[in-house]
C-alpha cells in the first residue's frame, strides 16, 4: 500500500495535567475514508484536535505528505489543506450563514457550482442564507459546519460526528455527499458513533480506547464480525435498523 496521506506515530497529548493520548499510531491512506471509532472519552476528538494543532502533541510525529506538522501553528496546517468539522460544530453564531461560508472560503470568493451542490445537500442553508447562524436549529448548525469544511477543495477532511442531531434523511444525503467528496479524490478521517453510517462510508477502521488505538483493519472485516464489534464497542443495541 502506498505511503498514506496522514500518519500519526506514537502521539502523546496532555490536556492540563491529564494524559489524554497515550501513543496513538494511525495511518490515513490517500483518497479513502478512515473511520475513527470508540466509546465516549476514548480520545477521538482529542486526536483530531491534535492533528489540527489545537492541542499540542507532547511527543510523537504527525506526518502530512511525509512532512511533520506536529509543531506547525494551526493556520499553517489548515492552509496545507486540512479542514476540520469540530465536535461542537464551531459555527460563528454572531455571523450570518453567508458570512460563515465566506470566511470558510479561504482562497477567494465562494465557488458557485460547489455552493449549489452544497445547497442541494443541505437545503435549509439556502433558506436561511442571511440568518445569524446562532439562530439555526441544532441540525442546521451541523449542516453549516460540514458545509464550511467542504466549500473548497481540501486534501484531508477531519470530521467529528457529523451525523449528530441530523434527521435520518439528511444523514442519508450527508453520506451521499461524503461519497461524492471521496469520489472527487478527497481523503477523510471520520469520527462517528452511528455505526450504520460508519459502515456505509468507511474503508478502514481504527478503534480507540483510553487514548490508544486498540484495533485497526478494513471496515469489511469489522462489519462482518458482530462478535468483534461487541468486543470493541459494545454495540449491544445495534439491532436491526430500517
Amino acid at each position: 500500500m502506498s505511503e498514506p496521506l496522514l500518519r500519526l506515530e506514537g502521539v502523546f497529548t496532555d490536556i492540563e495535567q491529564y494524559h489524554i493520548l497515550q501513543g496513538v499510531d494511525v495511518a490515513v491512506p490517500a483518497g479513502e475514508v478512515t473511520m475513527l471509532l470508540g466509546r465516549n472519552g476514548a480520545g477521538k476528538t482529542t486526536t483530531l484536535r491534535t492533528i489540527m494543532g489545537l492541542w499540542r502533541a507532547r511527543q510523537g510525529r504527525i506526518l502530512l505528505d511525509g512532512r511533520d506538522i506536529a509543531a506547525l501553528p494551526t493556520p499553517v496546517i489548515a492552509r496545507a489543506g486540512v479542514a476540520l468539522v469540530p465536535e461542537n460544530m464551531g459555527v460563528f453564531s454572531d455571523l450570518s450563514v453567508e458570512e460563515n461560508m465566506v470566511l470558510a472560503a479561504v482562497s477567494g470568493p465562494l465557488d458557485r457550482a460547489r455552493l449549489d451542490w452544497i445547497f442541494s445537500v443541505f437545503p435549509p442553508l439556502k433558506t436561511f442564507w442571511k440568518l445569524p447562524a446562532g439562530n439555526l436549529s441544532g441540525g442546521q448548525k451541523q449542516m453549516l459546519s460540514v458545509a464550511r469544511a467542504v466549500c473548497e477543495e481540501r486534501k484531508l477532511y477531519l470530521i467529528d460526528e457529523p451525523s449528530k442531531g441530523l434527521a435520518p434523511a439528511i444523514v442519508g444525503t450527508l453520506v451521499k455527499a461524503l461519497k461524492d467528496l471521496k469520489a472527487a479524490g478527497a481523503t477523510i478521517l471520520l469520527v462517528e458513533q452511528n455505526f450504520s453510517m460508519a459502515r456505509a462510508l468507511g474503508d478502514h477502521v481504527a478503534v480507540m480506547d483510553d487514548g490508544r488505538i486498540v484495533w485497526t483493519g478494513a471496515m469489511a472485516t469489522l462489519a462482518a464480525d458482530p462478535a468483534l464489534q461487541e468486543k470493541l464497542m459494545g454495540l449491544s443495541m445495534e439491532g436491526g435498523h430500517g
Binding site: 492540563e16 456505509a200 459494545g234 430500517g242
Partner: protein, 254 residues
C-alpha cells in the same frame, strides 16, 4: 383519559416573517412518553423553547396542569414542574460536576435566597445531588470540573440535572446525540425507568429511529413548524409524510 399534565393550544412563533412553530395544539398525559420527530429545522427545539419559556410565544397558550403559564418566566415554569434538558450541552463549565447538580437540588428546595446559612451545612442537598449522579453513573467524576468531561459525559450530566429537579414534565432534546453505542443505553434505560415510575409526562426529541421504536408510546411529527402527524408509533412511521420528508431512503441501501 385523565386531564393532561401539559397542553399547548395554537402555539405559534414568528421570527420576522418566518413561522418556526405554526399553531401547534397538543396535549401530553401523565405516564406517557411522546416522541417528537421531524426534519432538521422543523421546529422541535423551538417548540420546546416555547413550552419551557426560553422564547415568548407570538400566539397561543401553554397550559401546565390546566394552569396558563404562557406569560410566566422560565424559572417560574421550572418551579411549576417543567424540566428541560438542552440539545446543545449547556452547563456550568468551571464548577464541579457535583456542584452543578447540587445547584439544581438547591433550586428545587427553594433555598436560593438563603444568605445566612452556610451552603456546606445542607447535607440533604448534597445527598440529592449524589443520588442523581448515581443514576447516570457519573459518581466517579463528581469532583471533576465540567469542562474536563468528554462530550458523552456532559450529555449524561445534562440528564442528571433533570433528574435532580424531579419535574412533572421531562423534556429531552436529543439526549443521546453523539453518545457511543455503549453509553447511550445508560441514558435510555434511565428514561425507560422514569416512564415506568409513571406520574409524569415525558417529551423526547430524537432522530434515532430504533430509540423511538423501543421507547415511544406515541409519536408526533413536526414539519415546517406545523403538526404533521400524531399517533401510534407504528402507524405514524408508516405514514407518507414521515417516509419521504423525514426518513428518506435508509442508508444501508444507498
Amino acid at each position: 383519559m385523565t386531564d393532561p399534565v401539559l397542553e399547548t393550544k395554537g402555539l405559534t412563533i414568528r421570527f420576522g416573517g418566518h413561522v418556526a412553530v405554526d399553531h401547534v395544539s397538543c396535549a401530553f398525559g401523565a405516564g406517557e412518553l411522546t416522541a417528537i420527530v421531524g426534519p432538521n429545522g422543523a421546529g422541535k427545539t423551538t417548540y420546546f423553547n416555547l413550552i419551557s419559556g426560553q422564547l415568548p410565544a407570538t400566539e397561543g397558550q401553554v397550559l401546565l396542569e390546566g394552569r396558563d403559564v404562557t406569560r410566566a418566566s422560565a424559572s417560574t415554569r421550572t418551579h411549576l414542574g417543567l424540566g428541560r434538558a438542552f440539545q446543545l450541552t449547556n452547563l456550568f463549565p468551571s464548577l464541579t460536576v457535583r456542584e452543578n447538580v447540587r445547584l439544581v437540588a438547591q433550586s428545587k428546595a427553594r433555598k436560593g435566597f438563603d444568605m445566612f446559612s452556610m451552603a456546606s451545612r445542607h447535607p440533604e442537598l448534597i445527598e440529592a445531588a449524589d443520588h442523581a449522579l448515581e443514576r447516570v453513573r457519573l459518581t466517579r467524576l463528581a469532583d471533576q470540573t465540567v469542562s474536563a468531561l468528554s462530550h458523552g459525559d456532559q450529555r449524561k450530566l445534562e440528564v442528571a440535572l433533570l433528574i435532580a429537579l424531579q419535574p412533572r414534565v421531562y423534556m429531552f432534546d436529543e439526549p443521546t446525540a453523539g453518545m457511543s453505542m455503549d453509553e447511550a443505553p445508560v441514558v435510555l434505560d434511565l428514561i425507560a425507568e422514569l416512564k415506568a415510575e409513571g406520574g409524569h409526562a415525558i417529551l423526547l426529541v430524537e432522530h434515532k429511529m430504533d430509540v423511538i421504536r423501543t421507547l415511544a408510546d406515541r409519536i408526533i411529527v413536526l414539519h415546517n413548524g406545523a403538526l404533521a402527524a400524531d399517533g401510534e408509533p407504528a402507524e405514524v412511521m408508516a405514514s407518507a409524510v414521515v417516509q419521504e420528508a423525514y426518513l428518506g431512503k435508509e442508508i444501508a441501501d444507498v
